[in-house]
């Protein structure tokens, strides 16, 4: 049976792992290679790296980090942040990542998903969606690190992404991100039910139950979290033992 996945997420800025809250108040946490190795050894199923840097020079530092991480760990990882072109995707994959996640650039140019899926295969193209409930009573897609509302319906965008060839969707609820009050179940479930590709829930994990609820009730295939893992609040072996008790299939 296919296991549900637990995915620590590492935001990397100038070669260091950082963590923010609602995309702000960035704090320095650790060396990404050390942290990646620790998660690999603790039983994480996959890792996600978001490059939150901007300049080309910093991009090169980041690609070095990707390669060092690939050397150290024997679980898959994906890379996102600032991916704009086929060349960007190629360089990330060539540095040792299994998957690449696209966000703002895919909204601006949906053909990027299609081209990338044809060239590299759907399985390595992840569509990352930052969504927020707006006054219109629906979830809308935000880009540029959550700063710009596109007005696009998140459900429509997820379906479109699947049609274009994305192999997985990460759905990040901006409102619950960093709050530790649980994932946005309604949003995650709506997305998971709308598409036939794996869906990763992101934003809001703070307690063991948050993971079991999103995996069971919201039909997520994987749960992503950052700070609860980075600060050791929830050790991965403990989380997996808990999920097994909750009758959720996980790799141990």
């Amino acid at each position: 049976m296919l296991a549900k996945r637990i995915i620590p997420c590492l935001d990397v800025d100038k070669g260091r792992v950082v963590k923010g809250r609602k995309f702000q108040n960035i704090q320095d946490v650790a060396d990404p290679v050390d942290l990646a190795k620790r998660y690999n050894d603790a039983g994480a199923d996959e890792l996600v790296f978001y490059d939150i840097t901007a300049s080309n020079e910093e991009r090169n530092i980041f690609l070095d980090v990707v390669e060092q991480v690939a050397r150290e760990i024997s679980i898959p990882f994906s890379v996102g942040g600032g991916i704009r072109s086929i060349d960007d995707i190629n360089s990330v994959l060539r540095s040792g990542a299994e998957k690449v996640s696209v966000n703002s650039a895919a909204v601006n140019n949906p053909d990027l998903i299609k081209e990338a899926a044809l060239k590299f295969g759907s399985q390595c193209i992840v569509l990352s969606i930052d969504a927020k409930e707006t006054s219109t009573g629906r979830w809308e897609v935000f880009i540029n690190g959550g700063r710009k509302n596109t007005g696009i319906d998140a459900m429509d965008w997820a379906k479109r992404g699947e049609q274009l060839g994305a192999g997985e969707i990460v759905i990040n609820a901006i409102d619950t991100d960093g709050e530790k009050n649980g994932y946005n179940l309604e949003l995650t479930k709506a997305i998971a039910d709308a598409v036939n590709i794996p869906v990763v829930a992101s934003g809001g994990a703070g307690a063991l139950e948050h993971f079991s609820t999103v995996l069971k009730e919201a039909n997520a295939d994987a749960a992503l979290a950052a700070s609860v893992f980075h600060y050791g609040e929830i050790p991965i072996p403990e989380l997996k033992a808990f999920l097994v008790e909750e009758d959720i299939i996980v790799r141990r």
Binding site: K4, L93, A117
Partner: protein, 202 residues
């Protein structure tokens, strides 16, 4: 020395890193002579079938692989690399593969989410030295939308995984071996499988 075929597709580095960890000597190459002289060949794979076949054909690799397979040299295909060993693929069209193994590459039926992505258990179909220190129901990492099917030879099935249907996970016919999952990304289990393969060919 194992030759890992470099055909400009996807992530090949992690395989090299895994072999480095196991102290299995390898070289990433597109040089036909190096490939002919290697004691074994690994065809890795992330990417799309057609692009991969086009690259292999352009590099003159397809013929070399057929020759080396016929010479009895150990060949290991991983993920797409394994699929390329088959006769035909129906990934976004109909494409001819290298044709070392009988059968075709078909889309995983939509009763389940496609791609088949994540950790799934291996069910053994026959005894193999590949399974040294590998327990039943060990988890390995899959990420693929297409799987071996059609008129594939069930005698070649060494291990499978259940995902909507039975997914051939390890196949073996003489010197040709395929792994549908990524051993280089399957934690300790995957490293052990690669180690076992390394011992098998040395």
């Amino acid at each position: 020395m194992i030759a890992i075929i470099d055909y400009d597709a996807g992530n090949i580095k992690s395989l090299q890193f895994a072999l480095d960890k196991l102290k299995i000597e390898s070289v990433l190459t597109k040089d036909l002579q190096t490939i002919r002289e290697a004691k074994a060949i690994i065809l890795p794979g992330v990417g799309a079938f057609k692009d991969a076949m086009d690259s292999l054909n352009k590099l003159g690799m397809t013929e070399v692989l057929r020759e080396e397979a016929a010479n009895g040299k150990p060949l290991l295909g991983i993920c797409l690399g394994m699929q390329l060993f088959y006769e035909t693929s129906y990934e976004d069209g109909e494409w001819q593969g290298i044709g070392l193994l009988k059968g075709s590459v078909n889309r995983i039926p939509d009763m389940v989410k496609v791609p088949h992505m994540g950790w799934n258990t291996l069910q053994k179909h026959k005894e193999s030295p590949l399974f040294d220190k590998i327990s039943d129901d060990s988890y390995v990492y899959f990420v693929h939308s297409y799987a071996i099917g059609g008129s594939y030879d069930s005698d070649t099935l060494v291990a499978s995984s259940e995902y909507g249907t039975t997914i051939p996970a390890i196949v073996q016919k003489g010197n040709v071996t395929g792994m549908q999952f990524h051993p280089e990304k399957s934690g300790e289990v995957g490293l052990q499988l690669l180690k076992n393969y390394g011992e098998l060919i040395s």
